[in-house]
Structures are given as structure tokens and as C-alpha cells.
């Protein structure tokens, strides 16, 4: 009994180590996929917002950044901090290319796992855990570099508690992303357009979470709807917690909402996987 109870976490740790070895075996691939990942969109946002606030300031007869021009409740310095927060937060979000389950299903490589006495999902949880541990280190490094380079503009958390709350929300949201991408990958039992669906889902999650525009800067109706979904609590809300725009009450509300969606997604994941297995033909064997 004890041995069996110990086996699951041991296997999870072994899977983490295995995933880590897979990720670091090619140095260029590691740098591009794991380190540069999630840094381009914030740079684009910075460019767009500078132009927008510049236009708004010019219309108001002011210079960029010198006066607090506000768009949708956000000033230019706040938006700069938001973008800085986004660079760090995006590093922690499990991304759509991080699983290769669809390929494994298409090519019949799932077959080997079906005769093994373990939950196949553990290997993917190992991937999630490995991704999170590695990205925590990368995110910390990115924050340090950003702070050293531009301390006046960089986002400095208002408190340790806010940092922990933001971290919890980001990781819970990241696990929701992981579950969604697992489900979409599992659609490979039926479909051959999984890659397109993943790209679409990644964009929708990013947009509805605030990866392009803070959700709280959107029109009130959009904000009302999007603030119910986990993407908002994974991107915009944690950054606002770090900035002190949201407090502990908001964190608790968000954690409850995301936890509910996480459970629902996990149930859906189990259902899709079971249905998919019943259709599996073990191609290529």
C-alpha cells in the first residue's frame, strides 16, 4: 500500500526529469522555445500603446509620458508597468505548442502507454510541472534583468502577499490552459485539424485574458463577460494585483472562479479521453 502510494509521486518526478532532459537536449531549441517564448507580443503592445498614448497626448496638446493621459482607466506609465508584468506572467502560462499529444495519437505512439499500468496523464502532468518549474526560474531571471535595465518603469510588486496571490492565479490559469490544450490535442482521435484549433484557442485565451489589451481597459460589457473566465484571472488580474489595483477580496473571488473552471475542464478532459480511446485504432502498429 505504501509502495503504491509512493509510486505515483515518484513517477511524476521521474516524468518531470524526463521532460526536462527532453527540453534541454538542443540548446538553440531550448533558448527559442523556453526562454524567448512570450516576449514578442508585449514588445508589440509597447509599440502600439506608445503610438496610441502619443496620439492621445498630441490631441490633448501634451507630450508622451509627461502628463497622465488616461485611456480606459489606464495611464501610459501604468500601461508600461502592465506590459512589464505581462512579459513575466506570459512566461508562466502553459502554451499551445507545449504538448505533442496530437502527433502521438496520429502516429499511433499512444499505443505503448495503453498497456502500461499507470495513468497516461501523469506524463503530461510531468510536462506541466517541468514547464512551470523551469519557467518560474526564467520569469524570475527576466524580472531581474528588466528591473536592472529600467527600474523606473519596471513593475515592482506592491507586497509579498500580492505576489503570492498573483502567482497562485497565474498557475491555476496555466493549468486550465494545459487542460484545454490536452483536450484539443485529444481531438486528434477524431480530427486532423488540431493544430489550427490550438492556434485559434491560444489567440482567444490570450485576447480574452488581456495579452493584447488589459481586460479592464475594454468596454464595460466586454469586461463584465471576460472577467468571469479564467483567462482574465490568469493575465490581467494577477498584474493588477501586483500593481495594487486589485486586493485580496478580488483574489479570493478569482481563485474560486478559476477553481470551478479547472474542475469542469478536468472532467471534460477525462470524458474526451475515454471517448477518444474507444475510437482509437492504434495506427501504424
Amino acid at each position: 500500500m505504501t509502495a503504491a502510494a509512493l509510486r505515483a509521486p515518484t513517477l511524476l518526478l521521474r516524468a518531470v526529469a524526463y521532460e526536462f532532459r527532453k527540453r534541454i537536449q538542443f540548446r538553440a531549441g531550448f533558448f527559442v522555445r523556453e526562454v524567448l517564448n512570450g516576449t514578442v507580443e508585449p514588445l508589440v503592445m509597447l509599440f502600439v500603446y506608445t503610438a496610441l498614448y502619443g496620439s492621445a497626448a498630441a490631441a490633448a496638446g501634451e507630450g508622451v509620458g509627461t502628463e497622465p493621459v488616461s485611456l480606459g482607466g489606464w495611464t501610459y506609465p501604468e500601461i508600461i508597468q502592465y506590459v512589464a508584468g505581462l512579459v513575466v506572467v506570459r512566461k508562466l502560462i502553459f502554451h499551445s505548442r507545449a504538448l505533442d499529444l496530437a502527433t502521438e495519437i496520429f502516429e499511433g505512439r499512444v499505443t505503448k502507454y495503453l498497456v502500461m499500468p499507470f495513468r497516461f496523464f501523469v506524463l503530461h502532468q510531468g510536462r506541466f510541472l517541468q514547464f512551470t518549474l523551469l519557467q518560474l526560474a526564467v520569469a524570475a531571471l527576466v524580472w531581474c534583468i528588466g528591473y536592472a535595465a529600467a527600474p523606473a518603469y519596471w513593475l515592482v510588486p506592491v507586497s509579498v502577499a500580492a505576489t503570492l496571490q498573483a502567482g497562485v492565479l497565474v498557475l491555476m490559469g496555466s493549468y486550465c490552459c494545459f487542460l484545454i490544450f490536452f483536450i484539443l490535442n485529444a481531438l486528434a482521435f477524431w480530427l486532423d485539424v488540431v493544430w489550427s484549433l490550438l492556434v485559434m484557442a491560444w489567440f482567444v485565451i490570450g485576447f480574452s485574458g488581456g495579452a493584447l489589451v488589459p481586460v479592464s481597459q475594454m468596454p464595460a460589457a466586454f469586461y463584465g463577460v471576460l472577467s468571469l473566465g479564467f483567462p482574465y484571472w490568469m493575465i490581467t488580474a494577477p498584474i493588477e494585483l501586483l500593481m495594487g489595483r486589485l486586493g485580496t477580496g478580488d483574489f479570493l473571488l478569482g481563485a474560486g472562479l478559476v477553481a470551478g473552471q479547472l474542475v469542469a475542464l478536468d472532467l471534460l478532459r477525462r470524458w474526451v479521453w475515454r471517448r477518444g480511446l474507444a475510437r482509437y485504432v492504434g495506427a501504424g502498429m
Partner: protein, 354 residues
Amino acid sequence: MSVASGTKPSGADGGPVLEARGVRKVFRTFERVPGLRGILKNFVAREHVDIAALDGVDLRVERGESVGLIGANGAGKTTLVKILAGIVPASSGEARLLGRDSFDLRDAEKRRLALVMGQKSQLWWDLPPIDSFRLLKEIYGVSDADFAERLARFASMLEVEDRLKIQLRQLSLGQRMKMEIIGAFLHSPEVVFLDEPTIGLDLISRETIRRFLVGLSEQRAVTFVLTSHDLEDIEETCRRIVVLDQGAVAFDGGLTDLSQRVTGKRAVEVHVHPNARVDEEALVAELSRHGAELAGRSAGSLTVIVSAERLAELVPRLFAMLDVKDLSVERQPLERLIREIYRRGIDAAGGGEG
């Protein structure tokens, strides 16, 4: 007829290790109509067709049996393995492994099972085999001592001790397959499915793997189900043969039974001068007097099939009738008999059950 070689208890209740009763498997696909109109038609309204890969297969395998599953491409042998191993469900009928529905195996049964796929890697492509083996050790809950002992023994038997730390993708095909086999046996399984385990391998690798399988079968009464197009694999590792043809069992019997039919016949290859005149009518008549038949004919050679007992009386007659340059006698190849089974069914191939 089956050859039950083990005497130890079998499945969960002492029953068979593997059992298929009336197993059918139907795959649904749609017909693709050619041409532009066909493409549009396929897009709007598809016509589905059902293809029966297995059509009522009955099979019972006892503990310690080594069963060779053979058949032409598309005969259904891999589908049957997938169903028995619990990878895909049967459309109808019943498949049981170790006393339990194959498609509803618990970890307890899976721990006693292994699958080796010649065309699909069981191990992790990006890792050295030793890392994959350690992961398998955790998955199967193998103790440290057993793991170390088995790994050392199997690596030595398969002669790959110095390749364990090299990334799998950098190993040769033969070395990879040996690693696959080590990985499959680390948890000491009782039932092993091997699907084309020697495909594409050189002679030496094939022989090493066969020796390994035979050795384990003799030591531990492991139950093997082996599918292969290489009949030497089957001959050297299995005592029972199941021939599948168009999704049904065409022959199920002991290898000794089949071998008697094979070894009871001889193929006589007679080389004659290319320009020599052969009175074929007289030759066929003479052959039939000795219970022989003319199986093949080219410009410079004839192939005659005759029973071993009547070989001695036939050969002098061949020398008397033909301008013989050379003559060789060989056992009738198993391939030939199997081909006959595919072509005409077992009755025509020499009578028997099925």
C-alpha cells in the same frame, strides 16, 4: 488443436491466459469517389462502408504457450493482437486477458503484460535507453535489485551492454529493437505480445532476439503471441501456429503437426541442360506413380515435390528420364505451405483442422 505446454495455473481463475470468443472488429470508413465531382460529393455527403478486419475469431491460449500468429497483410493479425492486449475494443464478441475483459484491464493485469511493436518504439526516442528503463521501472514498480539484475542479464544476453547510455535515436535498428525487448521484459511479464519484432533486422540480430525469446520462454513459462511475416521467427520461437485469413482463423495447430506435413515432403530441384528435350507428359505420369508432383518448371530446372519416404525410389527414375546436370533435395519450405493455406485453405493444403 493447440499445444498446451505449461502446467502452472493460467488466468485469474486457472483458465486460459488469453481467450477470444466470436471476436469481430469492424472499421467504418468512407469511400472516396475520384475526380472533381467525387471530391465535392465526398465533401457534402459521404458514403460509409464497414470493413470487417476480424470476423468471428475464436482462440484460447494457455499459460506458457508460444503462439505464432501469421497471415497475409490485412488478414487481421495485428487487429487481433490489439484487441487481446486491450488497445482497441472488439465490435462484438468477447476478448479476455488473464480472466478479464481485455478492454477493461486494471493495473494489476497490465503489470503482467508487455507489448513489443517492431514498427513503433516503446522507448522514448529522445532519451538513452537507460533513462527509459528507469521510467519503466517506476511505472511497473520494479524493485531496485530486480531492475539492476534483469537489466544486466538482458543487456548481456542481447549484447548491448555498451549501448545503454546512447540516445535511442542514435542506435541502429537492431540495437533499438534489442532495447525495446529489454524494456518489455524488465517487469517480468507473464504475457508478451510481439508484433513483427524482427522486421528489418539483419540475420545476426534476428537470431540473437530469437535465442533470447526462446530462453525466456523455457525459463519462465512466459506466454508469447508473436506476429511475423518471417516464418523463421515463428518456427524457432513458437510451438503453435494460428493462421488468419481474411479475418478468420484458417488454421490453428501445433507447429509439430505443421512441421510433420512440411518435413514429410521434400522439394527436389533438378537442373537439366537448357536445350534438353523433356517429355513433360511422360514425366508427370511417372511422378504421379511415385506420389510426386511437378511444382515448378523453367528452361534449365524442374521442381518436384515428393514425400520423404518415396524420395529414394523417385530420384533414380529422375536420372533415368532426364539429362540431369545437378540435383538437390530440400525440405519443403514452410512458406510454401503457408502460401497454400492462404490460397486454398488448410484442407487443400494438406488437410487438418481450422
